[in-house]
Symmetry: C2
Subunit: 226 residues, 2 copies
């Protein structure tokens, strides 16, 4: 299957690598591919620059946001929440309409210091804003409640039956995303309902950040025991 | 040990019954004890009125908010979040100063329809507001991320090692609350840090409400797999 992954950060690269290794045709989208390829320094978290990463994943192509979205039968928003709507505008509505748009972003606001707060929450969510702006895209919010490495490989935790959530208005789109999640190894997938339920999952980020501090590691996840 | 439980709703009664059955001396506080005892109808959820409940728990005494707070060596805020600050004012600062104040409330706002939203979140929390208003009380936020019956008996779920969180500024107060939680049967107790971490746990309520809808039952809980 053809995937367009918007965003060259850790989340985008991790999803792209996983999909590529499974035999999917992956294009990663960025604002300015030349600029992205010209980076020679590690990013702020010490990750290698995109060019170095791509040498290890030669089948993953790089293009503009628009090229990646046009390439994908399914499009993944893996950009930072602060720029997601702008990146999706650059991807162009025409390249999103009718497609499943898997949204992994979090509306983190770093302007008030650490830990970040949310710039939309409680009575609205970033997932809903994206769905309202692109009404013909089939937005499915998922995977954004955990670390990137867990997203694509839940067995990184020995007790692998922890939980991933899906939120979205379109049942068929959620079924497609659920199949993709199963192919990543997910077994406990809870459909919370329509895209407004993304308020609940986005509001999980503050406790995630505090757990990250308390546990001193990012590889953990929520399991809904019932 | 002497406990003052503020609130005669399901949470207050469930905590009071459990503490009473463990041999603690419990007084439940309410705005107007006579009015509370005069109720003869079930509440909006179909629970029996307080008088009927008390006949089955004769050792649990009923008093005003102030009497219950004065009685308690530890005070538990089990009132609805919307009235918690008012109830604590009625309990009187003098009766709270120097004591552990276990806060189980959630700042739910029902004025915008269902599911409720939060009237404080993201950059502040009800736990913090209570701590700021009563700086000499030792506020520990805990247990508010689940159904009342699970709070006092985690073994209601077969897989009983799910998680309860504690947030608070005073390490000694958190240690006392942790011991109480252990006596309820809790084994996985995560100290998230100071009272500002209550933002994270209070913001769990929106996904809890959506899970309640998706799972069609209230007896479930979060487990932090790590």
């Amino acid at each position: 299957m053809r995937f367009g992954i918007l965003g060259t950060g850790v989340v985008g690269k991790t999803i792209a690598a996983r999909l590529g290794s499974m035999g999917h045709e992956v294009m990663v989208g960025t604002r300015d591919p030349e600029e992205t390829m010209s980076r020679s320094e590690p990013d702020q978290y010490g990750n290698p620059p995109f060019g170095a990463w791509q040498q290890e994943h030669p089948k993953v192509r790089l293009g503009t946001f628009g090229e990646a979205a046009a390439h994908g039968e399914m499009v993944v928003n893996a950009t930072a929440g602060a720029v997601s709507l702008e990146a999706l505008e650059m991807a162009s509505e025409n390249n999103l309409n009718g497609k499943v748009l898997m949204d992994i972003s979090n509306p983190l606001d770093f302007s008030r210091g650490m830990p970040p707060t949310l710039w939309v929450s409680n009575t609205d969510s970033l997932g809903e804003r994206i769905q309202r702006r692109f009404p013909e895209a089939k937005v499915v919010k998922t995977l954004h409640t955990m670390n990137a490495y867990l997203m694509v490989d839940p067995t990184q935790l020995a007790e692998a039956d922890h939980t991933v959530f899906v939120s979205g208005d379109d049942p068929e789109a959620k079924a497609k995303v659920t199949n993709l999640l199963r192919s990543f190894g997910w077994t406990d997938i809870i459909d919370l309902g329509d895209i407004t339920t993304a308020r609940g999952t986005e509001m999980v980020m503050p406790i995630w950040l505090r757990l990250f501090g308390a546990l001193q590691k990012p590889i953990f996840n929520f399991k809904i025991v019932r």
